[in-house]
């Protein structure tokens, strides 16, 4: 039974304390001690996610849709293991590669090649495994002439291309994609989608967050609709996207 599941969320909630009173620094805390303590007592948690449960089967592609602040990105961060749930349990099976922000962890002083190694290791490969893939990564990014130039000389499009190339060559079991495809040009987006199709055929589990219902219905097996931190519905893409559009019109 377990072999079948790649991601499992059970009663997951995430609360934040907004406006941490100490965020202003020690000086502010000491100078305004009475009011600060009061604020600390009175602060109310913000419920980013409330009691969310769903399973993602191995090889399945599930898209998360919903308005801004509905809890999609929080869900993704929880699956990525960057955040820890306040309640409930998140279980993942396999190596996860987050495409939460392309090129997170890139250093702009280093060359493209050096950044491939740095990013690859940060995302979970050993140096040897990264080196075995470097040629393919450069090939896919089409940055041959610039690969030994510092990243600060790159255009933003080039950085995105490099980030995507690194991420898709790590052979993840689970791929998390957070609206990154919005940034590239049409040709780059096409290439990204081809790559995602390729991952799908290979049986990589994917979680995809997007506002673009067209690409959502094109790529996903199931769609999860979020609103105000709750999972409203999960199921067949056509039905959920309809429900989403109805809600958007109603609001």
């Amino acid at each position: 039974m377990y072999n079948d599941v790649a991601i499992r969320l059970r009663g997951v909630s995430k609360r934040y304390h907004l406006g941490s009173p100490v965020g202003e620094g020690i000086k502010h805390l000491i100078l305004h001690l009475p009011s600060q303590i009061k604020a600390l007592r009175q602060r109310r948690p913000f419920h980013a996610l409330t009691d969310v449960s769903f399973d993602v089967r191995r090889g399945e592609c599930v898209s998360l849709i919903g308005r801004n602040g509905a809890g999609k990105s929080t869900t993704l961060s929880l699956i990525a293991g960057v955040l820890r749930p306040s309640d409930g349990k998140v279980e993942t099976y396999g190596r996860i590669c987050p495409l939460l922000e392309l090129g997170a962890g890139f250093n702009h002083q280093l060359t493209g090649r050096e950044n491939i190694l740095l990013n690859g290791v940060l995302l979970g490969l050993t140096r040897r495994e990264v080196r075995q893939r470097t040629a393919q990564i450069i090939e896919f990014s089409e940055l041959h002439d610039f690969i030994d130039a510092p990243l600060r000389t790159y255009s933003s499009g080039m950085v995105v291309r490099l980030g995507f190339s690194v991420a898709v060559h790590l052979d993840p079991d689970i791929l998390l994609i957070d609206e990154v495809l919005a940034v590239g040009d049409a040709r780059f987006r096409t290439k990204c989608f081809e790559r995602m199709e390729h991952f799908r055929r290979r049986g990589t589990t994917m979680i995809f967050v997007s506002h673009d219902t067209g690409s959502v219905s094109r790529i996903s097996d199931r769609v999860a609709l979020f609103d105000a931190g709750r999972l409203i519905d999960i199921g067949e893409p056509g039905r959920i996207i309809d429900a989403y559009q109805q809600r958007s019109l109603a609001a």
Binding site: K27, A80, L118, V121, L122, P150
Partner: protein, 267 residues
């Protein structure tokens, strides 16, 4: 995605070890390249700072104030080089997590590796400055003793553990109190003058010697001075330095472990 539990499930233990080694190495390489990429002076800069300080202090204290310390310049170097490591770590620690915000928000990996690689980077700089110390020793017709073979690695180990603890502590606290930086720079200044660097430990009047043990960095600096200046080690100071090292590691480790899960929320 260096999730420990993920590795436990799908990877062997030996691969995890290789992976952690590689993670430290690439972070270390990054620090090094970034530090030297735009400076052709490179190594010279890290030696120049304590060297200039040593010259100023020796002019001031041995020529103007006429402090009676034999080979005073060598004595200064023996304290200033390890102190430079301490102060660089204290200042650098403010940014170990803060300057890697995008990484912490988006990617799961062992965050304390950022601190460890920063500390190891300073350790390498310190080791690279040893030839300068040896140069001054030879100038004053002294030479390294055989005991360096075990004493240098011992003190290095104590200082690496201590600095990692300090780095974790300051790095974590600075995420929650963003003006900690100013307080740290004040404390580092204060501790510099409370540590026998420009003066010697036996100049301290009997009533104040407890400061040597209460100051978290003094015993360690005295150990390095003993080694470079006199070629010996005082067991009491080595023990004190080791105790402070363990205390920092424990304190830094606890603060880090308690708060590491909130890093991505507040950074």
């Amino acid at each position: 995605m260096a999730i420990l539990s993920t590795f436990a499930a799908t990877q062997t233990r030996s691969r995890a070890l290789v992976y952690y080694r590689d993670l430290v190495l690439v972070l270390l390489a990054k620090e090094f390249k970034v530090r030297y990429k735009n400076t052709f002076m490179g190594y010279a800069w890290s030696v120049l700072h304590p060297l200039v300080l040593a010259l100023i202090f020796s002019l001031f204290f041995s020529v103007f104030v006429r402090l009676q310390v034999p080979d005073y310049t060598l004595y200064l170097m023996a304290g200033l080089f390890p102190w430079q490591w301490v102060s660089n770590t204290c200042f650098g620690a403010n940014g170990y997590f803060l300057s890697n915000a995008s990484l912490i928000k988006k990617v799961r990996f062992q965050r304390w590796m950022l601190v460890l690689s920063g500390v190891l980077n300073e350790a390498i700089h310190f080791v690279c400055s040893l030839p300068v110390v040896i140069g001054f020793m030879l100038y004053y017709s002294k030479s390294p003793e055989w005991n360096w073979l075990w004493a240098v690695p011992l003190l290095l180990g104590i200082q690496i553990v201590m600095m990692t603890g300090v780095g974790l502590f300051i790095g974590t606290c600075n995420l929650f109190f963003r003006d900690l930086e100013r307080l740290v720079s004040l404390l580092v200044q204060l501790l510099f003058y409370l540590t026998p660097i420009v003066y010697t430990a036996d100049m301290i009047p009997p009533g104040y010697t407890w400061l040597l043990y209460a100051n978290p960095f003094a015993a360690l600096i005295v150990c390095w001075q003993d080694l470079f200046y006199a070629g010996t080690l005082t067991p009491a100071f080595v023990a004190t330095a080791a105790a402070w090292s363990a205390a920092w590691a424990l304190m830094g480790g606890c603060v880090y472990a308690c708060k590491v899960w909130r890093f991505a929320e507040i950074v």
